[in-house]
């Protein structure tokens, strides 16, 4: 791994250069909320800590995405695929969200690969950024994620005093740094140590310690436990926890058709919605809310691990912060670990 330095005042000029060559997607603020959006000017970028409401998975797996158009004009059938991706730089991704890309990759890059996701993924260079503070809902450390680790990024920045320590982590990252080398300087002594010290400080800031060992097996024995029904009593069955989750990846495919023209698109779905597993017959194997809520936790904490050998939660804390009725996955984990069978 290669390591460089970037002076703080050079970050925006660098991003401005990148913006000329790539579509630059970066954190922007709207009414005090953070979103990752394409920016036209680097002045729009919100630097610093803070968690976006909608996770950056949106960039690779948009909430609504057109798959193809069709036309049946004149009795024939014309299909036109709408597969397109511009070379992009996704800037300012925090370690938990970096891990979430690995979770999504396991799903979308397995054979047969999802071409829409793959194309975006291939054409995007990811610039990660270390956290400088831990939010009260964060618990990424439960999954072995460190708030200063760049795994999953092509290039990773960690703020250390007046500079960013730059870690060049992949061939894509190497190419990017080489191309814009005039912005970077050589690593100096003490910076790597300062980053390690930051790691220590941050790990002391987690408000709740969460342990997940043995959880998939434990959950396996609790499918019929009354706990799920109790927990679901206050759940609203809304789409918040799934839509803000960086690893949720369920989608639905539908058409919009006007006359002889139409398009087929896919859009995010949520396992908490009443019609999520509704069959054409009218039967729904998860007709009760508790079954749907249980599915969410089983998927996050067991199925994903069993199927892809990677945990389905990254501990970003978004669902914890945004659930309107305080269903807190950290508490669910602790409760489940203590339940008898």
């Amino acid at each position: 791994m290669d390591s460089k330095l970037l002076k703080k005042e050079k970050l925006l000029p660098l991003l401005d250069e990148l913006r000329k060559e790539f579509l630059l997607v970066a954190p922007v603020e709207e009414d005090a909320l953070l979103f990752y959006r394409p920016v036209e000017s680097v002045a729009e970028i919100k630097l610093g800590s803070g968690r976006s409401v909608v996770p950056p998975k949106e960039w690779f797996f948009p909430q609504a995405e057109s798959l193809y158009r069709y036309s049946t004009e004149g009795g024939g059938l014309v299909l036109e695929e709408t597969l397109a991706a511009t070379p992009a730089v996704l800037f300012g991704i925090h370690p938990c969200d970096l891990r979430s890309f690995a979770v999504l990759d396991a799903v979308f890059l397995q054979e047969p690969v999802d071409r829409y996701y793959t194309l975006r993924r291939e054409k995007t260079v990811i610039i990660g950024i270390s956290c400088t503070a831990v939010c009260p809902e964060c618990f990424c450390s439960a999954y072995g994620i460190s708030p200063v680790e760049g795994t999953g990024a092509d290039v990773h920045l960690s703020e250390v005093g007046a500079v960013y320590m730059v870690e060049v982590l992949t061939p894509k990252g190497k190419e990017l740094v080489a191309r814009y080398q005039e912005f970077f300087e050589d690593q100096v002594a003490g910076v790597a140590e300062a980053k390690e010290a930051r790691k220590e400080t941050l790990s002391g800031q987690f408000t709740v310690r969460v342990t997940v060992d043995g959880l998939p097996a434990k959950l396996g024995s609790l499918f019929d436990h009354p706990y799920w029904e109790e927990l679901s009593r206050r759940c609203l069955g809304c789409g918040i926890c799934t839509y803000v989750c960086p690893t949720c990846h369920c989608f639905d495919i539908t058409d919009v058709c006007r006359g002889f023209e139409g398009k087929r698109f896919r859009c995010w779905d949520a396992c908490l919605f009443r019609d999520y597993t509704l069959h054409t017959s009218g039967h729904n194997p998860r007709h009760a809310l508790y079954q749907r809520l249980r599915n969410r936790f089983f998927h996050k904490l067991k199925y994903n691990h069993d199927r892809y050998a990677i945990e389905g939660c990254v501990g970003c804390g978004r669902c914890v912060a945004l659930c309107p009725v305080n269903i807190d996955i950290r508490e669910v984990i602790a409760t489940v670990r203590g339940l008898g069978e």
Binding site: C238, I240, D252, R264
Partner: protein, 321 residues
């Protein structure tokens, strides 16, 4: 607030012993400065109930989930109206429900509290001292003056003492409304915008709607058993739907306008839709605007518990449609 919590626990325990099957109230939440809906089914569980200025949730909608059970529900002044409305619309059997009213001195805006409390400080007790809530913590007392820290709806509230309840706990609450503040301030500000800016404002806020439907799920006026936005039809028949399943701006406008019109005249102003919204869409602006128009159009008309929009008279001079 200790006495109120105490009498709440006592009454809940008594009701659960006397045949109430589910008592819906609040318990402490897992996050700092939070509470959560709580369902007690056994008298012992009443010990978990609390009431404090973090009990923002309107619990009334949960009643719809227990049509066959004897229930009791805790309501604040702004929540209570939803019970009679839902009963009037025959979504609830009022006979089966014990409505427990709690006088309310206002709810603290959680974000403001968090901004002022040191991180990870556990709140041990909440004391209401006139126009101030004092949060007692291991690191000392933190006073929160109501005028500066209450939720927006509370600063204009005149319903601090619930009416139409079966049981009223605690002492009468002092009104918290700030007489200087116009309840329709926000609505008027948007009304005053030039058309272009008004459109830009709604484009911006609706543009970030996730269509997670939390605002619908929480709303006691959104009581349809089959929602217009949730008709499960196969993909190729989606054209028959009111809105596309995909998130896009025109359909989000469509969703919001239909939602606002469906709850018009039935919204009781609890502001839960706005509270739950993960992207802070100011839904109350729409609800208040419609309430204002209804007041202007039918303000003087006699109306039942159901409000002027569902009052019916055979000699009504206007056609129904």
């Amino acid at each position: 607030m200790k006495e109120l919590t105490e009498s709440l626990r006592q009454e809940a325990s008594r009701l659960l012993r006397e045949g109430v099957e589910v008592f819906i109230g609040y318990a402490a939440g897992s996050l700092q400065a939070s509470a959560r809906p709580f369902f007690a089914t056994r008298p012992e569980e009443a010990a978990e109930l609390v009431f404090n200025p973090f009990c923002v949730h309107n619990l009334v909608k949960y009643l719809v989930r227990f049509p066959d059970k004897r229930t009791a529900v805790v309501v604040k002044g702004c929540d209570g109206g939803a019970v009679s409305r839902l009963a009037e619309e025959r979504h609830l059997d009022r006979e089966k429900i014990t409505v427990v009213g709690v006088p309310c001195g206002g709810m603290l805006e959680r974000e403001r509290v968090l901004a002022q409390l040191p991180p990870a400080t556990r709140i041990e007790a909440v004391e209401e001292r006139g126009n101030t809530y004092v949060l007692h913590t291991a690191r000392g007392e933190y006073p929160f003056e109501k005028k500066a820290n209450l939720a927006a709806k509370c600063l204009v509230c005149v319903r601090n003492n619930p009416v139409g309840v079966d049981l009223l706990l605690g002492k009468e609450a002092m009104p918290v409304a700030d007489p200087e503040r116009d309840p329709l301030e926000g609505v008027k500000a948007v009304e005053a915008l030039p058309a272009g800016e008004k459109a830009a404002f709604w484009d911006r806020v609706f543009g970030r709607c996730l269509r997670c439907y939390a605002c619908r799920e929480v709303c006691p006026a959104c009581s349809c058993t089959q929602c217009a936005f949730e008709q499960a039809v196969p993909g190729w028949q989606q054209g028959a739907m009111w809105v596309e399943k995909a998130k896009n701006l025109p359909d989000s406008y469509h969703y919001h306008l239909i939602r606002a019109f469906h709850v018009a005249g039935r919204c009781t102003g609890c502001a839960e839709c706005e509270r739950v919204c993960p992207v802070r869409i100011p839904l109350m602006l729409l609800n208040q605007k419609l309430a204002k128009e209804i007041e202007a159009l039918f303000g003087g008309a006699p109306a039942g518990a159901c409000g002027p929009l569902c009052a019916y008279a055979p000699d009504d001079p206007d056609q129904f449609a």
